[in-house]
Amino acid sequence: MSQTLLELQGLVKRYGGLVATDHLSLSVKAGQTHAIIGPNGAGKTTLIQQIAGGLRPNEGTIRFDGQDITVLPMHKRVQRGLARSYQITNIFKSCSVLDNLALAVQARSGSSMRFWRPALSDSAIFDEARELADTVGLSTRVDAIASNLAHGAQRQLEVGLALATRPRMLLLDEPMAGMGHGESLQLVELINRLRGQVTILLIEHDMEAVFQLAECISVLVFGRIIASGNADEIRSNAEVKKAYLGDEVAA
Amino acid sequence: ADSVKVGFLSTLSGPGGALGIDIRDGFELAVKHAGGKLGGLDTEVVVVDDQQKADVGRQAVDRLLKKDHVDVMTGMVFSNVLLPVMPSILANDTVYISTNTGPKEYAGEKCDKNFFVVSWQNEDIPAAMGKYVTEQKHKGVFLIAPNYPGGRESIEGFKHLYKGKIADEVYVKLGQLDYSAEIAQARASKADSVFFFLPGGMGISFIKQLVASGLSKDMAMYTPGFSGDQDTIKAVGEPMLGMYNAAQWSPDLDNAQNKQFMEDFQKTYNRIPTMYAAQGYDSAMLLDGAIRKVNGKIGDKDAFRAALASAPFKAVQGNFKFNNNHYPIQNYYMRLIYKNDKGQITNKTVGTVFTDYHDRYATECKMK
């Protein structure tokens, strides 16, 4: 069927004596939405960091689209189509929404080592930024300063920035954290729209969203994957229940 | 002109500030004496601090020459300030009376018609010490001076007439105050005497630290008058007693103008003057004499310079003439620090080392 886009092999990350990622192997198929759940401190964020290039693993390899990217710096991974959103909103706070998005578009449209020509004369970049604002539902707020946006709108921009890099794969770390039900629903909708075009690796404690979105779920405990499968399989896995879900799933 | 404007650029702050202040006080004392006039002309003295920094001095000179349009300049203490600023002064054809430093730079080939030194050539006093220390027959002498033209010339001067063994020769940064490293080196050098040229606060710190380290017990201390004068004595006190130092002037020199200078200075400022004060005083007196000689027509520069060169004044150190390079021909005395009958610690003259001494660069000068 569809081919593997991201493949992790024997990944290890240690913090002193603590093994946050413990010989972890995982593969994500192109076009899939793959969720990772697990107890607090299991190593989910650590894993995302390693895939995105913010942390270097102690052992193991990361392959993206067939190529080894284990030691590639972050910006090169982005250029190859691997983008991330942050658990804590991480945007250009004092810039307008349009500038936020335009910066991300500019990153992949030719060199920025241009010192003389005014950037504003590149209207194509800004047109595309406007389109992106549309996609993430911010079309009415393009001129607003990012820090003046409500929390939910900032989360939308966060995802917008990742999308603007035209990723083939998106890493989302607890995108719903701190969102109310309404905003969560909007985001679920957006992710649903991206399905098929973009491969997604999702970390989330909001089980409702996870079960609704993910085609495949992996459960991470103590840096290891203890179970993988679709929503039903995970829901009924006794070990997962014991380590992570508790009784809440029933609700 | 019926008035004269004197640009007085000097080091008035920091560890070397005491020197400039004494020169200024001496200079102003002389002007005050003459009723605020030099040679009959109303006199304005524009005093500026160079902070002992060349670039500060540079900008100040620019201002004095181009903005204040001063007629003569004087006052500088340190050669590291004087040397870089001198070209602008000379290029402007302005007379400069050196109140302190007499660098060899302008003593020889590059001697200049506008450049007059009332104090000494930098090597003169140390040379006198070199001669004296040779006679003391020490096993080895440890030399220490700041690393700037004046310091290097001083050591050169000392070595010029010193014939004994040099245990070690150390240069420190101008303005340095902590001598722990040098004292350690001195201890390691096994010298039994030390010759230090450390003007102002530098010398004070050095002596105090040498005494505190216990090393002074094993080492005889020698210094040119620069570090054996009242400013240092005041700060260090008793440990200075019995120290020999040479200078062109001494508080007890027996001549009329010195007696008057001593009396006036102590009355006005309530302290015993230093050799620097004497040099400042002399400079003003020199100007006074020369201006009088040209009848106030200082606009005629050649006449004015000729008047200056004839040294038409009575110097507080007694005999004083200008050599062909406009550096002094004068006597150098050996002084001893002692406690006088009023209980003050001060210098007394114990002998004359050189009489009518000519500095050794004058022969290279072909003054136009």
Partner: protein
Amino acid sequence: MDSSLLADLVLNGLQFGLMLFLLAAGLTLVFGIMDFINLAHGSLYMIGAYFTASFTLLTGSFWLGLLLSVAATVVVGIVLEVLVFRRLYHRNHMSQVLATFALILIFNESARLIWGEQPLRLSTPDILSQPIQLWSGFDYSSFRLFIIGTGLAVAALLYFIVTKTRIGMLVRAGASNREMATAMGANIKLIFTSLFAVGAALCAIAGALLGSILSVQVGMGESILILAFVVIVVGGIGSIRGALIGSLLVGGVDTISRTVLPPLFRSFMSPEAASNLGPALASILIYVLMAGVLFFKPEGLFPARS
């Protein structure tokens, strides 16, 4: 190398290092813990020295002078904190730099106005003015030994307070998240003011001690301030242990290179050239040390927070 030179090296290095520590400790507390860049730290050191000189003259006793000076400097520190610094905690580092730079100007000029251009002389107290014979043939300044003792005592005390006591924890908590620490019940205003007072007291002690061997003059704070910054960066900002190790390293490197390099160079070049190169190289080595430490440990030797 003979034993007296070695002894000189060790003792001088310790003395200079611990002196730096007294300054660096206050700086690292204020900077590392309150995240406040205080360029005027050196001014407090200068003020402390001037106060000591004045009060010593007034009372005739160095110790009484020192005591009064510490008190007066603390008062100045508190007034500064309340009037100026408090308004700057929430501002960026650069505003703090500008404000405290302005304070340097104000302090220097005020000192010049009050005490004059001329350096003041502060004599070591009588009982410490004589050298002590450590062993036969080796005398050492008793005052410098006293400095070493004071430095070590202060280091131990501060280390204990900051790392082992509740006060230390509250201070660190307030530094990283002032609002939260307040919401937990800590009176951060008071704690920060006290911290400043402690820093000022250390400055006064350092000023008095170093002023006695060197001289008390306008601008004395700036030259040593930069070394104190080097120390805290080498040691890791905010760490008392780091400040101590950093001080000793910087003090050691400085002393060794200033004592050993010039004779070494003199052995194969002219004394003038050697004296140009020796001290310059000694100063360079301190910065090489810092650059080297930062290259391998980008947050200093003992980072207080990561």
